[in-house]
């Protein structure tokens, strides 16, 4: 069996890159959450002048919470996937070394006694591959779900711009919130797209 460790090493780099991309997403989502809370305060102060913005502010708050939770879930899954990839790398290294011992020392009196260890390492390697596949799919799903969430955020940002036009003296403040949401959703979508790219670079063997 010929096994290359390079692919697994690339996986580790890609997973670390995803974690780095998502670190900035968390900061942006936190910023949107603060803006949404600010918008809720504004709508409360404005009595009925910005009444239409109330459910939107609530939605922005919810979506920022969803984004933060989603980033946490993605980070946790990426961490799990990294652990699995490290374990796989260790199994591959062990398998290669055990196999080289078997080939180079075929005349050794007790060489056959290492067969169970070799078999076990091979089984561990296969188990790691399966675990990787499962976690990879889960991570893809989480990224996809987050992407949809950001698509909704952009849509609500467009709606909120229309609603803020009726908010009289609160119009400008609420417009800033709507723009912030749109920018944040665009930024997060870009980062998710980069994360997808990293993940696709290390697609399943």
């Amino acid at each position: 069996m010929v096994i290359h460790t390079e692919a697994t090493e690339n996986k580790l780099v890609a997973l670390a890159s995803i974690a780095a991309e998502l670190h900035s997403v968390m900061e942006v989502a936190w910023g949107v959450s603060l803006a949404a809370k600010n918008a809720k305060v504004i709508t409360a102060q404005s009595s009925d002048k910005a009444l239409g913005f109330q459910p939107i502010a609530q939605f922005i708050d919810e979506i920022s919470q969803l984004a933060m939770n989603g980033v946490n879930d993605i980070n946790n899954e990426a961490l799990l996937l990294t652990r699995i990839a490290v374990n796989e790398l260790r199994c591959i290294n062990a398998y290669q070394l055990f196999d080289s011992v078997k080939v180079k020392n075929h005349e050794a009196q007790y060489i056959d006694s290492m067969a169970p260890a070799l078999k076990q390492v091979e089984e561990n390697m296969q188990a790691s591959k399966l675990a990787y596949k499962k976690s990879f799919n889960q991570l893809s799903m989480l990224l996809e779900s987050m992407d949809k969430c950001m698509l909704s955020a952009r849509a609500i940002a467009s709606v909120s711009r229309i609603v803020t036009s009726n908010a009289q003296e609160y119009k400008d403040k609420l417009k800033v919130v709507a723009n912030d949401l749109d920018e944040a959703a665009t930024y997060i979508k870009d980062k998710l797209s980069d994360s997808y790219q990293h993940l696709n670079n290390v697609k399943l063997d």
């Binding site: 260790r90 011992v101 007790y110 290492m114 169970p116 260890a117």
Partner: protein, 246 residues
């Protein structure tokens, strides 16, 4: 990897080392295995780089499932960084090592092997009918450090004490003690930190009946050369790097 039986009676001591295939930039190490009946212990099994030739060499002398024990005199990478691989080769083995280093040594990867922590005062292990003693050698050079003494074979596996930095071509045994001194002087002065610890160890070891002192680097001392080494080491001032700050 060169394999030599240094004791062959009821049980065997086998030395592995002088590995010509190892990368040039890593220090040459001596690994030892004691085989007693259907059980074997590998002492200071070495670093990751020597794992494959070491396992290959071991399989000429013992079956995998007969290697029931490992010993690591201390935590250094040339001593035990191969642990993560032995852990997969010998999942039912026990590693005997200083209690002080357990949390550190586990960083090398240890999911299967059992850690048997050796207390500061030392302990012993029964390998079938053979008893091996773990002799305290703290601060020589590691702060938690043990050597292995075989009362029956009169062999002391002395870890870094008695070590010399030499090429792979070096003979297995010290042939001319005076000529050997320059090869080990700097090693002991620089790596050994404490004169007090050194003298404490010498007092302890002088009470043992030793025919053969087997270090982890360099050559093995036999017969009168063991006493010569102890006398020389007693006179040697160690921990010399602190003088450079004068």
């Amino acid at each position: 990897m060169k394999t030599t039986k240094i004791f062959d009676q009821d049980h065997q001591w086998i030395m592995f080392g002088r590995d010509h295939e190892k990368p040039e930039s890593i220090i040459d190490t001596n690994q030892y295995m004691v085989v007693s009946g259907k059980r074997a212990i590998i002492m200071d099994p070495g670093g990751i780089e020597v794992f494959a030739p070491m396992l290959g060499a071991v399989l000429h002398h013992a079956k995998v499932d007969e290697i029931t024990d490992l010993f690591a005199s201390h935590q250094d990478p040339d001593i035990i960084s191969s642990l993560g691989l032995w852990d997969q080769a010998l999942p039912h083995a026990t590693l005997h090592s200083p209690w002080l280093w357990e949390g550190f040594i586990r960083h090398f990867g240890m999911n299967n092997i059992e850690y048997a922590a050796i207390p500061d005062e030392g302990s012993s292990i029964n390998l079938g009918s053979l008893t091996l003693e773990f002799i305290p050698a703290h601060y020589l050079h590691s702060s938690g450090n043990f050597h292995v003494y075989d009362r029956q074979a009169k062999i002391l596996m002395s870890g870094d004490v008695g070590a010399a930095l030499e090429a792979c071509e070096a003979p297995l045994y010290v042939e001319d003690f005076e000529e050997h001194i320059p090869k080990m002087k700097m090693f002991h002065q620089r790596w050994m930190p404490s004169n007090r610890a050194k003298n404490d160890w010498i007092t302890r070891v002088r009470e043992l009946d030793i025919e053969c002192m087997a270090p982890q680097h360099g050559r093995i001392f036999k017969g009168d050369d063991v006493t010569r080494f102890l006398d020389w080491f007693e006179e040697l001032e160690v921990g010399t790097a602190i003088h450079s700050g004068k």
